[in-house]
């Protein structure tokens, strides 16, 4: 077919112009696709990260914060907070035998006061409340180290004691008994007891008969048998002199490392509402309904602490197996580690206590009403936050970007679309403008207006399709590139009663900041790609049609007169 050959020759022959038009169209299409994709990506990121409560099936969160005034059921001031947090005192003596390695976790309720779980039944019974779930979110301090051994070296002993003492001589009765005893044994004792000590005697005290000169009288068997007990051995009570030993004892050597994290207790029986629900699970599985010694760890904390599925966490001797990684929603009641509520209550000695109640209303239109009811029922100490309020407390680049996308995303997409359309139209018009003389020639050759327009439209269609396709490919690549290397948008939210913290000077230690980062992506859809493609085609065809018609309607003489 001649017209196709002509079309091909025209596109191939005017390569520079064709490529320019193609690139222009492709860039326009790619721009529309990328910007629209980005706007969608931001929208999606915003929906997941910035609407945290709905992700966990919750409309309202109820917490109890210490009040500075004395109203409500808080006792006023920060007394409760100090009391609640004083278990942070580390008693080394209770951690084990000196020298042993210890690991200990302290669980502190932070600035959210705990309340008996039983009380929350009051909330559940309010009209408009569909379901509630109790949670316990605690700040935990993890300490590990060695129980210090205190050793003091004290030198003692080595004193010499000299004892001198007169032994009382035997009485007359004793002397007679001794005498008799010796005689009986056949050992003569010269003289009486008085002369007994005189060495001149045949059998004197000075030398035993059988024992030899140096043997001593007292040690002879006869003497042992015959002398009274008092004389056989010498007894005396000696009191050594009192003295005080002074020595500086070195401080105990130990390193105690402490790190803090947050831990949340959730009711595993309720899977549709809770601090985290199965929908936040990024890997692994959720708690079984019965609970058990299992833990879920936030993906960020797992990364920081190199924890993996199947690793175990040792919390004061109880081992918890990590069964899943979660991406907890922002908005206050987040934690790094989640374990079943009952387990946490036991560990933290908070039996029967919770510090956050998640509430789902029966219908979204009731939320405001339910919020008021809860506030009235619990008094001023209770803080009831709606999803909207929680979302408002989130800040970070993601929020900025989301606001931007809200305000500008559509406008940008429209601008890009108009730009793509105009680029297509202008490029087509300019290429037709340069061909007016050629169109005049065709008309002089006898081409009808219809034929000329058809030919130009054919070229526009071909360029439009090619440019659109290249643009779609570029757009897809750009979106993929954004997904792969795109900026990470972060969102964070801080909880904790700032006022109370300031008063108490507890500062940031008790305020928890949770943050999440969402990698920016530009999700595409077939309709978006088709839209971008159609836009380029329409721009080219409309402009091509209009331009060609205008040129073809010129009298050939006028068209031929146009400068090349």
């Amino acid at each position: 077919m001649f017209y196709f050959r002509y079309l091909r020759s025209e596109l191939v022959g005017r390569r520079t112009r064709t490529v320019l038009t193609l690139v222009g169209l492709a860039l326009g299409v790619a721009l529309v696709i990328t910007i629209s994709g980005l706007a969608r990506g931001l929208d999606r990121a915003q929906k997941t990260a910035l609407n945290p409560l709905s992700a966990i099936g919750t409309d309202l969160t109820v917490t109890l914060s210490p009040q500075q005034d004395t109203g409500g059921f808080g006792r006023g001031g920060g007394g409760e907070v100090v009391q609640a947090n004083q278990s942070a005192v580390t008693d080394l003596s209770k951690l084990g035998k000196p020298g042993t390695q210890f690991v200990h976790d302290f669980f502190l309720p932070g600035t959210q006061l705990t309340f008996p779980q039983k009380q929350t039944a009051k909330i559940a019974s309010l009209p408009g409340v569909a379901s509630i779930s109790n949670g316990l979110v605690l700040s935990a301090v993890h300490q590990e180290g060695v129980v210090p051994k205190i050793v003091a070296k004290i030198k003692a002993g080595g004193q010499q004691l000299d004892i001198r003492r007169q032994i009382k001589p035997p009485t007359a009765a004793e002397a007679a008994a001794i005498q008799a005893c010796f005689q009986k044994l056949g050992v003569g004792v010269g003289g009486g007891p008085q002369s007994g000590t005189q060495p001149g005697g045949q059998q004197g005290f000075g030398g035993g008969r059988g024992a030899g000169g140096g043997g001593g009288f007292f040690s002879s068997p006869a003497a042992r048998k015959c002398l009274p007990a008092r004389m056989r051995e010498f007894r005396a009570r000696i009191t050594t002199p009192q003295q005080t030993l002074k020595q500086v004892v070195s401080p105990p050597q130990t390193n105690i490392k402490s790190s803090s994290y947050t831990i949340g207790g959730i009711d595993p029986a309720q899977q549709s509402i809770g601090l985290v629900t199965p929908s936040q699970l990024s890997r692994g599985r959720f708690f079984s309904k019965s609970g058990g010694h299992e833990a879920l760890v936030s993906a960020a904390y797992a990364k920081r602490k190199s924890l993996k599925l199947g690793s175990t966490l040792d919390l004061n001797g109880t081992r918890f197996k990590i069964i899943g990684l979660v991406s907890p929603p922002l908005g206050g009641q987040t934690a790094d580690v989640y374990i079943p509520l009952a387990q946490l209550q036991k560990l933290a000695s908070q039996k029967g206590l919770a510090n956050v109640v998640l509430v789902r209303a029966t219908s979204s239109s009731d939320v405001a009403k339910v919020q008021m009811e809860i506030e009235q029922a619990l008094g001023s100490g209770a803080q009831v936050a709606s999803a909207k309020q929680v979302a408002a407390s989130i800040n970070g680049s993601l929020v900025d970007a989301a606001n931007l996308s809200h305000d500008l995303g559509l406008v940008l997409a429209i601008i890009a679309a108009v730009a793509a359309f105009l680029v297509a139209a202008l490029l087509t018009l300019s290429s037709i403008g340069k061909r007016v003389r050629e169109i005049g020639t065709l008309k002089a050759l006898g081409w009808s207006q219809r034929l000329v327009v058809r030919q130009v439209l054919g070229e526009c269609l071909a360029t439009g399709i090619a440019g659109g396709l290249v643009g779609v490919v570029l757009g897809v690549l750009a979106a993929a590139a954004i997904g792969a290397f795109g900026p990470s948008l972060s969102a964070s939210s801080t909880t904790g009663a700032a006022g109370a913290n300031d008063v108490l000077g507890l500062g940031q230690a008790l305020a928890r900041t949770a943050s999440t980062s969402v990698s920016l992506t530009a999700p595409l859809s077939l309709s978006l790609l088709l839209f971008g493609f159609a836009l380029a085609l329409a721009g080219g065809l409309i402009a091509g049609g209009a331009g060609a018609l205008r040129a073809a309607r010129l009298r050939p003489a006028d068209a031929l007169r146009q400068m090349e």
Binding site: F2, Y6, K443, S448, A557, D558
Partner: protein, 230 residues
């Protein structure tokens, strides 16, 4: 004047607006041309030769007056009828050749023949035959930019003749050629047309070229110098 006349031009004028000024390119032309004539329109530049040729070739319409072609007033025909007339009855040769730059020699010939709806194989065969007649069968696949001026004009002649027109209209066909090539091209054009009994209307300011015509019509300032009727 009889209906046998090919052309009957009656008091045709053509004026252009240039801003506020009106330029009268043609001022009251009366001209008759018969079948098979070779007519040279001669005159200095700006005398209105090309404007008259464009009226005769239905590339333009007169501001006033009438142009009868084969007894039909061209003013009464619509754009599509004029286009059909240009396709089947006229063949144009331009000073600047006006070949489509992206088409090769053969395709340039086909560009005129294709709208008549001839079958694809006939289109090619007839176009090749014409190129052979103008001595360019070995250049069929050359682009205009690869051909010399004389060769380009010969392609243009082949193109003009492709639909077997009744009239060949040539606007300074030698204007961009050296004199030898110009003479060759005009000889080719006139001989081929005479063979086919085509009428040829030739605009030129070259007296030597004009001599090859059966008759010359002289023009100056938009008027014919010596109204000649055959």
């Amino acid at each position: 004047m009889t209906g046998d006349l090919l052309y009957d031009v009656r008091d045709a004028t053509r004026s252009f607006r240039r801003g506020d000024a009106t330029i009268n390119a043609l001022g009251g032309i009366d001209l008759a041309i018969e079948h098979g004539e070779i007519v040279a329109l001669v005159g200095p530049s700006g005398s209105g030769k090309t404007t008259l040729l464009q009226l005769l070739g239905a590339l333009d319409r007169p501001t006033s007056g009438q142009v009868f072609f084969e007894g039909r007033d061209l003013n009464t025909l619509g754009d599509n009828e004029l286009a059909d007339l240009r396709l089947r009855a006229f063949g144009f040769v331009f000073q600047t050749f006006n070949l489509i730059p992206t088409l090769n020699a053969l395709q340039n010939v086909e560009a005129k023949l294709a709208p008549t709806g001839v079958p694809e194989d006939e289109l090619r065969a007839r176009s090749l035959a014409l190129l052979e007649e103008v001595g360019l069968s070995d250049r069929a696949d050359h682009l205009p930019s690869q051909l010399s001026g004389g060769e380009q004009q010969r392609v243009a002649i082949a193109r003009a003749l492709s639909t077997e027109p009744r009239v060949v209209l040539a606007d300074e066909p030698t204007g961009n050629l050296d004199s030898r090539t110009g003479t060759e091209v005009v000889d080719l054009l006139t001989s081929l047309s005479e063979e086919r009994r085509h009428t040829v209307i030739l605009v030129t300011h070259d007296a030597e070229i004009a001599e090859k015509a059966h008759r010359s019509v002289r023009m100056q300032d938009g008027r014919l110098l010596e109204p000649t009727l055959a």
